[in-house]
């Protein structure tokens, strides 16, 4: 009841406001304008919705063509490296002319990125199937982390000869963002699947630490000539142990307890 009265009042108020300009003839035009605008908008909404859908399809189609070419290009990496040449050969293998390599303005960088993304996805699929017993054994799932790092590294095996070049390409300034993004998603996936659900500062520490371990191991792996990559595995094991030691040392350190003391102080105040 009250609200009805209020609406009436406001209607009267606003109506009153509009009466004057109507006499002047100015609002008449305004109303027309607003009408045509609203019509336009409804039109635009309809077209934009269909546009979004077709846009999505279009992009999907383009992505499909691209990944098809990149997939084929990987076959030529052992022969011609992470280069535009491989992309050209890949495009030709996918049934396009060589000039289609222009789809990848970053050249080898795009190819390396594609490979990294592919490997990360593979690793996630693998990790999902791994038994969960490893995770329960102790506070830190060392076995799981070691296994995942090794599994990921062994995906590079077919391209081991050309991988130093790929690492160099990743370090080029225009490829650094992509490289860091794939590295982050890799360590994030490993942390998540190893049971990390932290929401505090440890979240960052674990990921940065793991990224460090992964990159160090990658470098070690490049020069590892041992049978079955035993040395690399030992290397990972000792790095993970180092990280564990570091963590326990930090826990003992009074500095780490300082923030807690501070919060406690604030809470009591």
């Amino acid at each position: 009841m009250k609200s009805n009265v209020f609406i009436l009042l406001t209607a009267f108020k606003t109506g009153h406001k509009y009466i004057l300009p109507i006499i002047n003839g100015a609002v008449h035009r305004n109303i027309q304008l607003s009408r045509s605008y609203s019509q336009d908008r409804s039109h635009a909404d309809v077209t934009s919705v269909t546009a979004i859908i077709s846009d999505y399809d279009e992009r999907q189609y383009e992505e499909n063509v691209k990944s098809q070419i990149l997939q084929k290009a990987l076959q030529f990496v052992t022969h011609s490296g992470w280069t535009t040449e491989s992309l050209t050969a890949g495009a030709e293998a996918a049934g396009y002319p060589g000039i289609t390599h222009g789809l990848f303005p970053n050249g080898g960088g795009d190819l390396v990125h594609y490979f990294n993304v592919q490997c990360n996805e593979n690793l996630v699929d693998q990790m999902k199937t791994w038994p969960k017993e490893d995770l329960k054994e102790s506070n830190v799932p060392t076995k799981f982390i070691e296994n995942s790092i090794m599994a990921r590294l062994l995906m590079i095996e077919p391209y081991k000869n050309t991988w130093p070049k790929a690492m160099a390409i990743q370090a080029l300034p225009n490829n650094v963002p992509n490289c860091l993004a794939t590295l982050l998603s890799l360590v994030d996936d490993i942390c998540y699947h190893s049971g990390d659900r932290s929401v505090d500062f440890n979240w960052y520490l674990r990921r940065v630490g793991l990224a460090g371990i992964y990159k160090a191991t990658e470098l070690f792996y490049l020069t590892d000539k041992s049978n079955n990559n035993v040395s690399t595995r030992n290397f990972v094991t000792s790095r993970v142990r180092d990280a564990q030691l570091l963590q326990s040392a930090l826990k003992l350190n009074p500095i780490t307890t300082a923030p807690q003391t501070l919060t406690a102080a604030f809470v009591t105040v």
Partner: protein, 297 residues
């Protein structure tokens, strides 16, 4: 005092230029689409409105008169930067052995020679792949200049690339469907009456996976730089034309047609409308020029 008068004049000129710009549609499509008779269809030739048939003739005249001084004037007007633009253009195309290029509006061979050089630098071609280039221009006078230059600079059969010279209209190519893997048009699309038809023809003659690339004058997004550029274009370039080539009108037309040409985003939209995918553009020298690229995939 005189300085102040000059400044006033410049400012007045500037606003005049902009008014002209604002009032005219930035497209080369006929402004009178609804009319039935062909003769009354209007398009623009610089800032003038002319019949569509006339534009073709007028453009033809322009290039017939400037053909022999074309390269000299390009160097003079752009301080030689047009060479760098074309080099960048070819680097972006990055042709490979086996590419079949249609160099549209490539009369004097600037793009073709860079293409041949690029392929030469790639090393010897494998036996099963042979590259070719078809230089196509609407104007025989420009093609003649190109042929002479090709002989003088040693781009003959011996360089391993099959070169053909063809006189034809970009809007109506006498070439079979899907016969080229790359299509380039450098500083040519602006002079065509129907850009959409040119793009359709480009799409038609390209094989799936083929690349369309266009190098063309474009619009500078920065107002101040645009003003400087306008001053240079309208006050200096026609004078240079008069002094070096003995022609004022063709260079007046040149700068006016640049202003009439669609800007980067609009041309990108037109290329997409023709069916090309992955359409991107890159500005050169603050947007004086732009390289547009699209794929038929």
């Amino acid at each position: 005092m005189s300085l102040r008068r000059l400044l006033c004049k410049l400012i007045r000129d500037r606003s005049l230029t902009y008014n002209v710009l604002k009032t005219r549609a930035l497209s080369s499509q006929s402004s009178d689409r609804s009319s039935d008779s062909d003769t009354s269809r209007q398009t623009h030739f610089g800032f003038q409105s002319v019949n569509e048939d006339e534009k073709w003739k007028k453009v033809h005249e322009v290039f017939e008169t400037v053909a022999d001084k074309y390269d000299l004037m390009n160097d003079a007007m752009s301080f030689g930067i047009h060479r760098i633009w074309k080099d960048i253009f070819m680097a972006r195309l990055a042709p490979t052995h086996g590419t079949k290029l249609l160099d549209m509006a490539g009369g004097t061979g600037d793009i073709t020679f860079r293409y041949i050089n690029y392929l030469k630098n790639l090393g010897p071609a494998p036996d099963n792949k042979s590259s070719s280039v078809t230089v196509c221009d609407i104007n025989q006078a420009m093609l003649d200049v190109g042929k002479v230059r090709a002989q003088r600079q040693g781009f003959t059969e011996a360089c391993g690339v099959n070169v053909q010279w063809l006189c034809g209209d970009a809007e109506n190519l006498q070439l079979p469907d899907e016969s080229f893997t790359a299509y380039t048009i450098a500083f040519g699309i602006r002079n065509c009456t129907h850009i959409d038809k040119v793009l359709e023809e480009a799409y038609r003659v390209l094989t799936p996976g083929g690349r369309f690339m266009c190098l063309e004058f474009s619009h500078i997004p920065n107002e101040t730089l645009q003003w400087v550029y306008d001053q240079y274009s309208f006050q200096v370039i026609p004078v240079l034309g008069q002094l070096l080539a003995g022609q004022w009108r063709p260079y007046q037309y040149l700068v006016e047609s640049i202003r009439q040409f669609p800007n980067q985003e609009k041309l990108k939209g037109m290329i997409e409308n023709a069916g090309f995918r992955q359409v991107t553009y890159e500005n050169l020298t603050f947007g004086t020029c732009a390289i547009h690229s699209g794929f038929k995939i």
